[in-house]
Amino acid sequence: MRITRRVDFSASHLCAIPSLSQGENEAIYGDGANPHGHGHNYVLEVTLEGEPDPVTGMIYDLKDLKAILESEVLDVMDHRFLNKEVPPFDHVVPTAENVSREIWRRLWPKLNLANAKLSRVRLYETEDLFVDYSAEDHVADGQSGGTS
């Protein structure tokens, strides 16, 4: 069984590869490459998988999940300029793909329990674009050693 908690945060970012020209970056990222940045209302869905505890009837206490999301994600990213204030985005392009991977990386150590494991991070950059990062991506990234 899976449970999902949704939170939202607002942040600014820009997407550009430092070695490329502004024109080349705009070709890849469109308006996202504006040098002064721009912002989104990100919506984050965090899904845990497990079996309900026979006594509590819960997979995981959603109050505790809320507290973890606040400390690991919202306190770090909400109302921040990701490129300037939130490592590793000083040197990793904060695309939705990379932000979802970073959120997984932050949450996984806290949500890797015997009875409840992090199963999926879904990050909406806008209502028209979202990325899913799941356990198999974590395995694949581990095998390639990549935080890229």
Binding site: C15, I17, A27, I28, Y29, G30, V92, V93, P94, T95, A96, E97, N98, S100, R101, E127, D128, L129, F130, V131, D132, Y133, S134, D137, A140, G146, S148
Partner: protein
């Protein structure tokens, strides 16, 4: 990792199978068989699967996906009467949303660059992982 992008188009259709009688069509499709047709604001979600490029951090340049879906789907469907304007349905195939979703997937697969190959500003083309079509907010079709 999957990335999903959402698009919109508006189109009309009539659910009517010419091999059946008027009465049978009315019994099967109800008011969706109204002779003059009716329309929807469709929402289309296209999912791609792959790994983000190590340099750009993207699985696909949005502009590349937008141009592919725009050319192969939105240009064909938006503002059209499916029964009269879209070749797939001219021969009597009924434009149920099941059939529309299947047609959209087939159109994209026919023109989808080989996964792993460069395409436009995308270093390695991801694979097409899913098509989800909302006929209305309450009727949703996945293929």
């Amino acid at each position: 990792m999957t990335l999903t992008r959402r698009y919109r188009f508006s189109a009309s259709h009539r659910l009517y199978n010419p091999a059946l009688s008027e009465l049978e069509n009315r019994e099967i499709y109800g008011r969706c068989s109204n002779p003059f047709g009716h329309g929807h604001n469709y929402i289309l979600e296209i999912g791609v699967e792959g790994r983000p490029d190590a340099v750009s951090g993207r699985m696909i340049a949005s502009a590349d996906l937008d141009s592919l879906v725009g050319e192969e789907v939105l240009r064909i469907y938006n503002g059209k009467n499916m029964n009269l304007d879209i070749d797939t349905f001219l021969g009597g195939r009924v434009p149920t949303t099941e059939n529309v979703a299947k047609d959209i997937r087939e159109r994209l697969e026919r023109r989808w660059p080989a996964p792993g190959s460069p395409f436009g500003h995308t270093a390695r083309m991801p694979s097409l992982s899913g098509v989800r079509l909302f006929e209305t907010a309450k009727n949703i079709f996945d293929i």
